[in-house]
């Protein structure tokens, strides 16, 4: 009987203790939930600013379709018949990005310049929180390009298929200061399997700086600059500025930019358009988001 009482008391004590523990666990969970970080949103309005990618990744199961369009040189010596470059020639880039999670997206794009097709993976490593425990957002973008230019036009350039390939690794760090101003720093590594000149580096490192200032609820001013640290001297830095206009579901980005090409493996190492010589152009990006 004594043994039975002891057993019952023990069991009761054990149950009570467990209940106490569970309570503590629940409390901990509760307190964790209240501690759950709230993230800063809309550091930038799109996954790209002008040419440079931003830290943004769309929400899970979102498909983004982007059209990037660049017109001809605004004005060069002796020109005047192309209506500030609107008559072309044009560069066109089409891109689909799909977000597998809130932090990870995969995409496919194609530009008419050098008929370059690219596949990309974007992963948001860190997210800025409102309580400033995490002061920055950090995102990685990896890109693999292949050109499908016809072999017959290229005298042996593509006898080796690998000469068609190029790669971009990019790390972006951004911070939203208050509700109106965002700033981003980029570092990019570009590897091109085939370059044009003997003295041109196959591997190049580029730095970028981009910013956005919100003017009204739907309009923001944007600017970006990028420089390849070891490009050949006769090429130029990338620079552009413009305006973001948001109209529910669409983001329109209108700007002036010197680079003609849109892919990082093209405009970072070999931008041949000099802003000061009238070699800038009107361009726009339009993006449409679909929730799947």
């Amino acid at each position: 009987m004594k043994k039975l009482l002891l057993a019952i008391t023990g069991l009761l004590a054990f149950t009570l203790l467990r209940a106490q523990e569970e309570d503590d666990l629940l409390n901990m969970l509760d307190s964790q939930e209240t501690d759950k970080p709230s993230y800063v949103y809309a550091t930038f309005k799109g996954t790209r600013l002008i040419n440079l990618p931003t830290v943004e990744v769309m929400g899970k199961n979102t498909l983004e379709f982007r059209i990037a369009h660049r017109f001809g040189d605004f004005e060069t010596e002796g020109s005047g018949f192309t209506l500030f470059g609107l008559d072309g020639p044009v560069a066109l880039y089409l891109q689909f990005d799909y977000s597998l999670t809130d932090r990870l997206s995969v995409g496919l794009g194609r530009t008419n310049n050098q008929k370059l097709v690219d596949g990309n993976v974007k992963y948001q490593i860190l997210k800025q929180t409102t309580d400033n425990r995490m002061p920055i957002t950090m995102t990685y973008l990896g890109k693999m390009n292949v050109t499908h230019e016809p072999k017959k036009n290229a005298d042996g350039r593509y006898d080796d298929f690998l000469n068609r390939m190029s790669y971009v690794n990019q790390l972006m760090v951004a911070r939203k200061f208050g509700s109106r101003f965002s700033l981003q720093l980029d570092i990019a590594h570009i590897h091109r399997n085939l370059v044009r000149f003997r003295e041109e580096a196959n591997d190049q490192i580029a730095l970028g700086l981009s910013g956005r200032v919100k003017i009204t609820k739907r309009v923001a001013l944007t600017a970006e600059y990028a420089k390849s640290l070891n490009r050949m001297e006769n090429f130029y830095d990338h620079f552009g500025f413009g305006v973001d206009i948001e109209t529910g579901g669409h983001v329109f980005q209108l700007f002036l930019v010197n680079s003609f090409e849109v892919n990082e493996a093209q405009f970072l190492p070999t931008n041949n358009r000099e802003f000061g010589e009238g070699m800038f152009r009107f361009g726009f990006n339009v993006s449409r988001v679909f929730s799947l």
Partner: protein, 123 residues
């Protein structure tokens, strides 16, 4: 988890073996099938111009840089400048590279223009 490791390893391996470092200047020049003898404006040069993007900026309507490339007279007047711009020389300002944004003309076409100029630009 194992699948992810295998996938990452496979991707890393693919990337490692698919990276090479070549340049066009050191590639073997494959000009075997290139006929740069007896080049004429009508047979070769005008065909080359009309089948590329030249005329989108250098037609009589657009005349970018004040250069028109529509007739024999136009092209022969700008032939030397054209050759320099199309050759993409590493010591030239890249702003003069034609076509802007590429692709660069093939070595065969460039050698044809060079031979055409040397032969006295026959029509």
């Amino acid at each position: 988890m194992n699948k992810l490791v295998v996938l990452t390893a496979a991707l890393a391996f693919t990337l490692m073996v698919s990276c090479v470092s070549n340049n066009e200047e050191d590639l073997p020049k494959n000009l075997g099938g290139c006929d740069s003898l007896s080049v004429t404006y009508t047979k070769d040069i005008s065909v080359m111009i009309s089948s590329s993007t030249c005329l989108s900026c250098h037609s009589a309507q657009t005349a970018n840089g004040g250069i028109i490339l529509e007739t024999y007279h136009d092209v022969s007047g700008h032939a030397e400048k054209m050759l320099t711009s199309l050759s993409w020389l590493p010591n030239e300002p890249a702003a003069r590279y034609m076509p802007p944004g590429g692709p660069k003309f093939s070595e065969c076409n460039i050698s044809k223009i060079r031979a055409w100029i040397a032969a006295g630009k026959p029509e």
